[in-house]
Symmetry: D4
Subunit: 253 residues, 8 copies
């Protein structure tokens, strides 16, 4: 609900600039497709356009939603798209970029600049097996205009690999830390840098890992402050979050 312009809206009704029906329509800013109600107002409310979560949606549904979004915004991202679905979608929508590792589809209007903000965010990742989640984070942040530096396979079993890259990590605007197994990397990075960390537990591991529960609890209980956490394997959420921090910092300038 475009609550932020309630004043303006009411003012316009009073002044007869818009009819009551028009005012009501303003309150329902979405496109109704039956199976979905695309939120065409989200960018103005939350700073970023709606992102298509591909899991459990058919290629046909995704195509319809992405096309609708292309009319409203210059940057369209879809996540959790497997390869076969991606193929079908790309046949219908030109100029999409598919990232196999991250399982994302991305479209940017040809006149839209690639990067919108100065500086960069970074994505730090503990192990080779966590790459898919790390890439989802990186691609998401890039989709919303943030340059991204990637530091992969720098887990604490060989902590010198992390120290080697520490200076670059410290200069980021915000940092995503991706780790499975015991997720200790988040705490270690948290004790060493001064920009906000978004920790992403991954479901990588076995046995008493419980599909990422071990890393999740580890990150939530970190002894280092300056860390917040998103859902297990939620690379998208973390990439979105650091890009949001990045954007708001840029808006300050």
């Amino acid at each position: 609900m475009q609550t932020d312009s309630m004043d303006v809206l009411l003012q316009k009704v009073k002044e007869g600039k818009i009819t009551i029906e028009e005012a009501k329509t303003k309150l329902s800013l979405f496109e109704d497709m039956g199976f979905a109600k695309v939120d065409s107002n989200r960018e103005s409310r939350t700073g970023f356009p709606e992102v298509v979560y591909g899991e459990g949606k058919s290629a046909g549904q995704i195509i319809e939603i992405m096309k609708a979004l292309q009319l409203k915004t210059n940057r369209v991202l879809a996540t959790r798209i497997n390869e076969s679905k991606a193929g079908l979608i790309m046949e219908s929508i030109p100029d999409l970029i598919y990232n196999e590792e991250a399982r994302t589809l991305y479209w940017r209007h040809e006149e839209e600049t690639e990067f919108l903000f100065d500086g960069y965010v970074c994505v730090v990742c503990a192990g080779t097996s966590d790459l898919a989640v790390a890439e989802e984070a990186a691609v998401t942040a890039e989709a919303f205009g943030s340059p991204v530096k990637r530091f992969y396979d720098v887990g604490v079993a060989g902590i010198h690999r992390l120290f080697y890259f520490l200076e670059d990590i410290k200069k980021a605007k915000a940092t995503v830390v991706v780790a499975g197994m015991e997720g200790a990397l988040a705490s270690v990075v948290g004790g060493l840098i001064n920009n906000p960390i978004v920790a992403v537990p991954t479901s990588v591991g076995y046995g008493a890992n419980f599909q990422g529960m071990a890393a999740l609890l580890s990150m939530l209980n970190s002894c280092s402050p300056g860390i917040s956490t998103v859902n297990i394997d939620n690379g998208f959420g973390a990439g979105y979050y650091v890009s949001l921090i990045h954007k708001n910092q840029s808006n300050q300038e």
Copy 2:
């Protein structure tokens, strides 16, 4: 480890400006009290000085640590301090401010400015029972220099209360959302604003709430992006985090 100045450190050794022993000392920047090793280097590493977590420490131990910190930094915060412990500590250290609701002790050097950054962060809280956690978040953010706006008891059972304050929340630099029970407030706010949200689940509730588990899972699984989560009842962590975002934004300017 002052890894960021490794270059400089090695350069100085080479140039004979410092001895090897001095270099080694630089690598061990803490004060050893036996029961604790106070991290006197943290502010330079992570942007904020060490905070004393009072749970499980005696009044005597806390006094010793706070005094050590007063020599190194201008802002000293201790959390999880119950009333009787607070009394004992305040007898030994003058000029402490005790916040009963938040259970925090705070000291600021007399020459230190109260607020360090422009704008404000805000703390939004679902119910009256979540106040202690919300206050811990607010006091922490203030301790590190952020002005704070509080919006309490605006849970989704009466969602118009939230809408009433929405404009102010949207203008914040970052937002803490504190909620117990089912924690739905975080998702609702997440769909309405464009600054980063740190969600704090509280242990308020009963039965299948499982000491905050319900709210924690709710927040981690939020359908709204732009939300990250800290541990149950971790008001401190959330306040610290939004202040860190606030600080970094200010540094941009």
Copy 3:
């Protein structure tokens, strides 16, 4: 056990109107098929006939049970029927309607009216991925004679979509709210309407969702009253329940 007519039963025995053996038979009102004992007395006890839960039953078993039920009642519903099983069953039993989304098979006697009660119940659903469960609820309520209004994809990430339809939801006799992920929609609707809500958590989500646990806990702990909950993905149970409320209201008139 037709306990409610125990008086009558005993009276008849005393008056010699029925033999002891007949009386005993009355106490065992079911059809014994070996693998199943179809409860031919359920409609008189609980208001609705037995529904066939298709999971783990063979097509042959389902056919046998549905045919037995067709002799006793005018409305026969089978749930959790996948497409291939449905095909086999429809070859043996004419006039069945298969709903692919809901995975239900439904048969209504040709002389039976479609809708039995005035007014309507409604099914509100958070996301596109929750459709299967929402449809199971809707189809079930319709099977038992309730007109149903559907409001899909109105989750709290774009809460204005819900407000758009609120007037219609408020006029329902009872409301099913279906939501996965964090399930916040139930609480939000609960704070806005005055008819009884049955919340259905779905297993839609990933990571710390734990196959619907997050939404289930969220709904059980809702800060809004007027909400009760059924099992994860139990669209059938919710549709049955609102239709039962609807039926009892109609019986009042």
Copy 4:
């Protein structure tokens, strides 16, 4: 948000009958007490006035809230009030009725009728140890105008006790079933009656009961339809719910 009168509201603005400021005020119908924002609009939205949840609130806070509610509504209920708190509150507010078993405080305006609806709801309870929760349910339903019949200690270990009262239970408008331990009573009652059942698991039990988890899971997984569930020990929620069903039925007539 009084969304249901949005049309009217906008119409009035257009016609100049109310100012924009007044319209905005309409959107914020609550009383701000700092620590709480009393929802004075709830009765018109959800059918019943706000109920005071006493846990974690001081006697002083409860007094203030109850007094505010007395000005807006004729029936004020507070739950989870222990004996000592109740004493303090009753000193400040006359004419309150305290129910020790249910731990509720209740006030009804002297001109308000005790019961508002015809017929009755019933509360069925498995064991003596579940009485407190059962009474909370019963008192809540009574507070909102429903006559209540109580059937206590009729658990399945001696199932003939249940059958003895079955006729009366079947005639209720809706039924609360309260059970701890394994919660089997809900399923058994569910197979025997035709009015909607709200099951309340209690935390009564030990060992692998896990504070009511066993009964909760049992009720959620009931093989009998016509059962929905509320949180563990949530007698209030169940009483509220059956009274809401009762009220809506009465409104039909």
Copy 5:
């Protein structure tokens, strides 16, 4: 419900030997005390009289129930009675025996034989800390007429202690094995004897024991057959069960 004599009952009604009212009364064999409905028919149904579970009942309530039971049966047992409650009850009911370790009160009619069956059951217990649960099992079995042999502190850390007593354990009619911590004793005994074992996990332990969960899972997953399990700390249930086996064996003879 005296279902087992349904034939007889109906026959009697037919023959006019009992009235319909009398027949109905037969179906409701309990004593209604308001707060409790004492099951005076249980012994004829299940072989043993009702046992009073003392937890959550007042001394007054227990006295009333025990007195009612004394009129119906020769052996009355109450469990989970703490010392102070026991004192109050013993003031009102003479000839009760209180077992401090087991926290049971027991009464046997003066003309009733102490032991009713030949042979014995045995209670095997892993550690000194499990004694209370073991004693509850032993006292319960004795209360129902079984002689009991006790073998305590024979856990697997010193397995030779178990072997020392093995011959006596093998000669028992049935065996209770009580163990906390990891509960391994049940599996070891299960591989060595040929009478039925009832395993009782206790809540003794700490950390990842989770109040008996470790021992419970261990016993349920035993690699030795011939073991069934009761709830954590449920010494009563195990004692009852082995005495039931013992009784049925005796009835064979």
Copy 6:
């Protein structure tokens, strides 16, 4: 370890009737196949021969073990054998009986009597979907010589079906109750009969059933005594247990 004959063993050593080496051999009564050590001494220790658990063993391994057992005992049972594995095994070992529902292979020496004990045990089962587990229990009890009566699909949603068969269930020597979903059947049967019940939770259900957890907790927390529980889906364990009770009763006579 043939501990029960330790006396005899030592006596024989002393008397020179067996050598030390022979005595040592007596202590290791198993057949070593490398991948398995078949326990040829189990029947004398525990009353029944070793049963082959087929899960995770190859057809070849099972053949080898079953052949070894055929040399030692007259009754060989293998459980958890899927159809294709069963085919392979039956090609190598003649006279095996495969039960598809129960997934068991059974062999009885041609001179061995089918049933060894008088009377019968019974297997009571809640729903059609629980049949596989119920059959595993029934086949196991038969394998060890117990006649079995089966009562399937008599769950509590239509409790009159249970009452119809109650007399027969009461006359059994011991009773297996198999139930999924909420497992309430065990408690209901437990309140009505006087022979020992072994409850088997099944993994039938969905959502908050958690693969049988709901039924397991329900059975462990039963308010009816006379019930013990085995692992989820452990039909074998329950059949073994009731047959063991049956055997020991017969030995009394």
Copy 7:
């Protein structure tokens, strides 16, 4: 069971050097106190004498057991002894040393050497709040003859503190790492040293720590090899384990 000397035992029986009765006695090497069976044979079996676990034992019981142990061994340790119990025990047994932090009582025969092995083990501890568990580990290792070096409060939030002491930790024979919260310290140390690590999770933390569950899972899932884990708060187990490694190394020399 002195199984290791079975040969010898049988030989002696054969040679008539001991009687059968004596041989049987050898198989039961414990002291029977009724409430406890003290394992006087443990030192010869497992390398260390039995340790008294004080939780849930009375002062009187502990005194009796310790006195029995003093007759058999030169080093007696009791753990989980609170201060008041310690006082009572020390009145009865002279020369005991009580460690308040570790809550242990220790006695060493006056002629017994304090340390038995060369080199040392070390105990590394993350935070001040973990001290009690760390001390229990340290005291236990010392009780069995290992010199111990302690490095406390060196958690990963200030990882330079750990590096400062790393050389000494690397020279240990084995290392105990004690950590609460997210337990990341174990993984970090595991990546840096080459002696075996025993990780002890502590229950220090709050919220989603779940009484040590977070640290436990973290340690079990460590990405660094060379780490094994004991139960939450089990300082004793860890101290025992490193001392056992230490002892066996010394025996090599």
Copy 8:
């Protein structure tokens, strides 16, 4: 980070023996392959070279990493390699040994001795189904130079099988105990031997086993000391650990 030679490193910088750039390089001892950063410094830090965890890595990635490791160390081990992946890898790298049961690939330089230490470690395993995990442990220990004795299928259901091999187990330098289901074997062995035990719970089991949780909790809560635990199914971790103990003992000599 080669922290142990920090002194030396700084000394060399001072003396101009290495440049600052070289010193920095020393701090980053890994080979960067993009997707992985192979830890070429691990052997000097932790005593054993890096092991390749095959799960979630492609054959190509594994080949690249193994080849890199072959240049640095004489013993290369890869775990969790399924048969088809193994085939691909063996085509590219000669002289690899694939163990199907353990799913490991192993390479030893032709001039490297097979066994490095005297004596042996042993792997004790409860059931045939646990073989894969047991073999992973055995193969790992052998890979690092320890001779291994295997004792398989000696679970507690037939405990005489364990006693038969006890003397050999007691003579080991360290012992791995592998068990699924209830994991009781660890406790039993723990009470009988005097070398350090590493317990490995396996995910073998069903129902309330919860993929190894039962065995894991059992082992963590063992009543026998001298046991530490690794993750469920972590045969590698256990084999590594006992070999590490073995190595350190050998270094003593």
